[in-house]
């Protein structure tokens, strides 16, 4: 198991490397510097600014410096928020994004697996078709359509929940964002679970379990579920990426002070270092999560550990 983990870890390094490199070179190769389009800056001051931000050094040296910075957690200063470093901005937004994203992914996995299992067990009934149609809708309809609708219905018309805002993180402010964020993942996990469970229930070893006289409950929970949920575990990696992507939209719509919102502001302001820093941070997060998921998969499927 240890070799498996180590091998997975080594596999993750190149990916992170690619992300950082891509981000860096895209930024440096972009036409126009970060200071273009602002008030005309006299040549001397511009030279000073360039030196201060180390933009006057040769490209490869900058690259090396940036790499070094990433390893130590220094993602450079924000070009637009003059007093803040990118690292600080990310740290500011982290608690908000973490809470919402964390609850969303856990909730999505549980809800999706449950609904998918129900659909599989009630295959081809009205309930199954309704759930699966709902699932397609959940996957297809974008978050930035669902979220405003939820806000409109529950916030404006019914006034049960706040329309937007973070308000110190009380649970009422979390409900709509988490639901809107989790919905597409619930839908996808439900479909995966349903397909996985149906497939497993057709297996020979399920027939063996029944032939042993095991009650259907034991057949389902002890024999079928583990194999059926493996695709869901695999999906948790891309699911996290989806949650991160979605959080950008959700934080924008609900006005939540998270990392995603910084990202959008940075994109609109052409704050290169901030935007890059967030991409690198999220990339590292996704890679880390994928690693955890891989290990989890290895824990559940004994065949994988030994190849």
């Amino acid at each position: 198991m240890l070799t498996y983990a180590v091998r997975r870890l080594f596999g993750a390094v190149p990916t992170l490397f690619v992300i950082v490199t891509l981000a860096f070179f895209m930024m440096r190769l972009a036409p126009g510097g970060p200071f273009d389009g602002e008030r005309m800056v006299p040549a001397e001051i511009e030279a000073n600014l360039l030196r201060a931000y180390e933009l006057d050094r040769p490209l490869l040296a900058q690259y090396a410096a940036y790499l070094g910075g990433v390893l130590t957690g220094d993602l450079g200063p924000s070009f637009k928020y003059k007093d803040f470093s990118v690292g600080e901005l990310i740290r500011n937004g982290l608690p908000v994004s973490l809470r919402i994203g964390g609850i969303a992914i856990v909730g999505a996995a549980l809800a999706g697996a449950t609904l998918g299992s129900i659909a599989a067990l009630r295959r081809n009934t009205v309930l199954d078709r309704a759930l699966m149609t709902g699932a397609i809708a959940g996957v297809a309809v974008p978050t930035f359509v669902v979220a405003p609708f939820l806000s409109l219905v529950f916030g404006v018309y019914l006034a049960w929940l706040p329309v937007a805002g973070w308000g110190d993180g009380q649970w009422r402010h979390l409900v709509l964002p988490v639901v809107a964020l989790a919905l597409p993942q619930v839908a996808y996990v439900a479909r995966l679970t349903r397909a996985g469970l149906i497939e497993i229930l057709r297996s020979d070893f399920i027939r063996t379990a029944r032939a042993k006289g095991l009650p259907e409950r034991a057949v389902l929970f002890r024999h079928a579920l583990r194999g059926a949920l493996l695709p869901v575990v695999s999906y948790l990696g891309p699911a996290t990426a989806g949650i991160l992507t979605g959080s950008v939209v959700i934080e924008q719509i609900f006005g939540l002070p998270g990392i995603g919102r910084h990202f959008v502001q940075g994109a609109l302001n052409r704050d290169y270092t901030l935007v890059m820093g967030v991409v690198v941070f999220y990339g590292a997060l996704i890679i880390l999560f994928n690693l955890v998921v891989d290990l989890l998969y290895g824990a559940l499927d004994p065949r994988v550990r030994y190849d």
């Binding site: 027939r207 063996t208 042993k212 095991l214 009650p215 034991a218 002890r222 499927d301 004994p302 065949r303």
Partner: protein
């Protein structure tokens, strides 16, 4: 190790009457088993021989209540006098694994890859015998020893993929025998295994019968497998029984053309090696239900007019009881047929 306690019964252990199994498919109804009567006495070994698609497996899956979702069984199946066909799952579960056990064809896929061998074995004992985890584990290890798996205690904690095919099949047999069932149904237990391992598995089954008094139904397409182990043989074709009888009778005096052809296909040690391996030309009927006439028609060397018009019934041979010795062929004059 306690000896088997199969009670002496007046009637047969397993009694199948008029069993029909049909499947609802996209292209209409497929009848896999047609009007089958079969008995198994306590402690005897019955070989059920036929090619794929003959219904030999579905017959027993129906008896165990393990048919696929689109399958329907009708008729009667009695175990020790009790009707078990159509029983609700709750009651069937008390019988499955405890009084009747089944071993399946492919040990590769018939064991749960995600669970240890110990889990898959002890659950049977804990369910049917109420044993504690520790006792169940001990009994399981003893059984693994009995089926000659080396290093049983360690193997108990292994996962299926860590075992060879032969060992997996032994595990399956061991699991099936844990509750000393009265009947063990072995569906092609050796088909997926190497020839060298086959003999071992068959020996195991023979031992189980002597040790525990377990009756065995041995389903196979391989006559060689049946010869050494079975007391009686039943030959199936296209969902029906076409011949049955004591094993010696069948091998020395096969009466149905299909049985004769099957025997002809088996290369013999005491004969010259033929230039070509004999095979039976043609294919069994697609939907298991011939339009008219005998199902073996297209492939039979002895077919006559009546064979085209009328499906032959199973008739007693030489004046004997049809349940003991019978064949379904118009051409067999001793069975009351004619040209």
């Amino acid at each position: 190790m306690d000896r088997g306690t199969a009670p002496c019964r007046a009637g047969p252990l397993l009694e199948v009457s008029g069993l029909n199994v049909a499947f609802a498919t996209e292209d209409g109804e497929v009848r896999a088993v047609r009007d089958v009567d079969l008995t198994v006495a306590a402690g005897e070994v019955v070989g059920v021989v036929g090619e794929s698609g003959s219904g030999k497996t579905q017959l027993f899956l129906a008896a165990m209540g393990l048919l696929a979702a689109n399958g329907r069984a009708s008729g009667s199946v009695r175990l020790g006098g009790e009707e078990i066909l159509g029983l609700p799952a709750r009651r069937l579960n008390r019988i499955r694994g405890a009084r009747v056990a089944m071993v399946f064809q492919n040990p590769m896929t018939s064991l749960n890859p995600y669970l240890r061998v110990s889990t898959q074995m002890t659950e049977v004992l804990r369910l049917h015998r109420g044993l504690s985890a520790r006792d169940a584990r001990r009994r399981a290890a003893e059984m693994l020893d009995l089926v000659r798996i080396p290093d049983a205690a360690r193997r108990l904690d292994a996962y299926p993929h860590e075992l060879s095919g032969g060992m997996r099949q032994r595990v399956m047999i061991a699991t099936a025998l844990l509750c000393r069932p009265e009947l063990l149904i072995a569906d092609e237990p050796t088909t997926a295994l190497d020839v060298t391992v086959q003999a071992d598995i068959l020996d195991l089954l023979a031992e189980a019968r002597w040790e525990f008094g377990t009756a065995i139904v041995l389903i196979t397409h391989d006559l060689g497998v049946v010869a050494g182990l079975a007391d009686r043989v039943v030959v199936t074709y296209a969902g029906r029984i076409v011949e049955r009888g004591p094993v010696r009778d069948l091998f020395h005096d096969p009466r149905h053309p299909y049985t004769r052809a099957l025997l002809g296909c088996v290369p013999r040690l005491d004969a010259d090696v033929p230039d070509e391996l004999p095979a039976i030309p043609g294919q069994p009927p697609a939907s298991g239900d011939p339009a008219r006439g005998c199902a073996f028609l297209g492939r039979c060397a002895e077919a006559g007019d009546r064979c085209r018009r009328e499906e032959p019934g199973l008739r007693g041979l030489d004046g004997r009881d049809p349940a003991a010795r019978a064949s379904a062929c118009h051409r067999d004059t001793a069975a009351g047929g004619g040209p």
